[in-house]
């Protein structure tokens, strides 16, 4: 094995910078969690490792920029993939102008549209999981994703992104969401309406929902 340098210790996994056949690569290792029962822990880590490896490759075939998977080690809960040498979108949103936010999120809407159209939901769409690099927007972290064309799952996927925007980027969340919807519609066409309607329904379904949400108003 090549030399490894710890890049990042995330909540779920450790990322190491290494190389594969002379290319820079990232080793993602899902670490054991002391707070979980050991059987539950290996079940969850195993499921997410194989899930992520499969979905990264399949998303790529749908035209969604993702890292290239080089190899998977299910026994050690590891994925070796290409390195995208740039910080996540989260770091840039705060310094972006409104136009730039609108443009980025309409492209993100297109990307998510392509993913959904191809029968995949990401499961954790946040600005930490999108990396702008060489003119493309890379989607990473597919561990919570699944194969489904279910309206509900697509709706939850978008609902979670909207919620993440509201908690982490509240100052631009409406522009970002509206632009996202534009992009999503462009790719999903007629199929988008039922999903977007469901997003609103999921939002209103929340246990405690403010009045403006219940009326279906959007900011």
């Amino acid at each position: 094995m090549a030399e490894m340098r710890l890049l990042k210790k995330g909540a779920e996994a450790e990322l190491y910078l290494t190389d594969w056949m002379g290319w820079k690569a990232v080793l993602k290792r899902r670490v054991k969690k002391g707070y979980r029962n050991p059987d539950l822990d290996s079940y969850v880590r195993g499921l997410r490792t194989s899930n992520e490896a499969k979905l990264l490759s399949e998303a790529r075939r749908l035209g969604v920029p993702t890292p290239v998977v080089y190899s998977v080690d299910k026994r050690n809960f590891e994925i070796l993939m290409s390195y995208i040498d740039a910080p996540p979108l989260k770091r840039f949103v705060g310094s972006m102008g409104t136009d730039e936010v609108a443009l980025s999120f309409s492209r993100i809407g297109e990307i998510v549209g392509r993913l959904h159209k191809g029968g995949i939901v990401h499961g954790d769409l946040t600005t930490s999981n999108i990396i702008p690099y060489s003119g493309l927007l890379y989607l990473i972290d597919f561990g919570l994703g699944e194969h489904t064309s279910n309206v509900e799952s697509r709706g939850v996927d978008i609902h979670l992104m909207r919620r993440a925007l509201e908690s982490s980027h509240h100052e631009v969340s409406s522009v970002a969401y509206l632009s996202f919807v534009d992009g999503y519609r462009r790719v999903m066409g007629d199929m988008s309406e039922v999903v977007l309607k469901r997003v609103d329904a999921i939002r209103k379904r929340g246990r405690y929902v403010d009045v403006s949400r219940r009326k279906g108003a959007m900011d």
Binding site: G10, A11, E12, K33, G34, Y35, R36, N37, D39, L40, Y43, V44, G123, D124, L125, T126, S128, L144, V156, L160, M161, R163, A164, E166, S167, S168, H170, I202, G206, R207, Y208, V209, D210, V211, R214
Partner: protein, 330 residues
Amino acid sequence: MNSVQYVLGIESTAHTFGCGIASSEGRILSNVKSEYVPASGGIHPREASQHHASKAAPTISDALKEAGLRLSDIAAVAFSAGPGLGPCLRTGATVARALSLVRKCPLVPVNHCIAHIEIGRLVTGEDDPLVVYVSGGNTIISAYAAGKYRVFGETLDIALGNCLDTFARRLGISHPGVPKLEQLADDGSKFITLPYVVKGQDVSYSGLLTMASKLAGECDLRDLSLSLLEVAYGMVAEVAERAIAHTEKGALLLTGGVARSKRLQRALSYVCRDHSARFHVVPPDLAGDNGGMIAWTGYLALKEGLAVPVESSYVNPNWRLDEVDVPWRR
């Protein structure tokens, strides 16, 4: 204004009618509660509100007595205005309005979830923690940012406490069910795979409850309890971990009725150890629903001029914590 002020707080969002008194120095002088326990099944809102109406007077007079105060010493009356069960909230609000009119003092509506956070900050001295609030009605991961408590994760359907209580009831275990499930779990050994549902930063418990209930007739109940608790707590711990990694807060505060669970405390203390964060648990008396937390939060709001006239002192059963401005934290 130089002297010490006393605020009386009324809590009545669900099964507990509580009355507590807080001083402007941050002391909880008394914290009396009366809990409605249904004869069978879950909370019946009308019965609960009737319980609250019948216990209001003795609970309030006990709280005053315990604090060594008279009603005339009270500077303001605070009440839980939501979220919660409509009939229960309205009973508490009616009592609070009456007290405020009799005493001719300000009336302060308080958001119940925010009161859980503020009492935790007060008793632990932790200024800016990530909060894990778990109870029969709520499962919320929240932290302060830019004027409001933001929600970084919550349940997409039923609350953690609701899932566990309902399961316990289905096994015929009497209230409170969670401590008894934990005892069963301590003797469990085999892990049974149950739906572990984390979606982004959110959790879902309805599928877990259905599956565990279905298996109740087929599996060893010790193993099933162990698996249910491990899955349910593991999900909260995972989203809490994601939130602490994301917000980079230096501490985690566990509060709400389910905070007393030793197994959950252990899981979250592991999370804190891994992220070099301090771990605090609100003591049971102040972690479950209580009037003391309403009194203290009422005092914070009173200082910011957030008292309301009786005519516009509405309750809001769906009042989200992330809608509320918290000017005292600026």
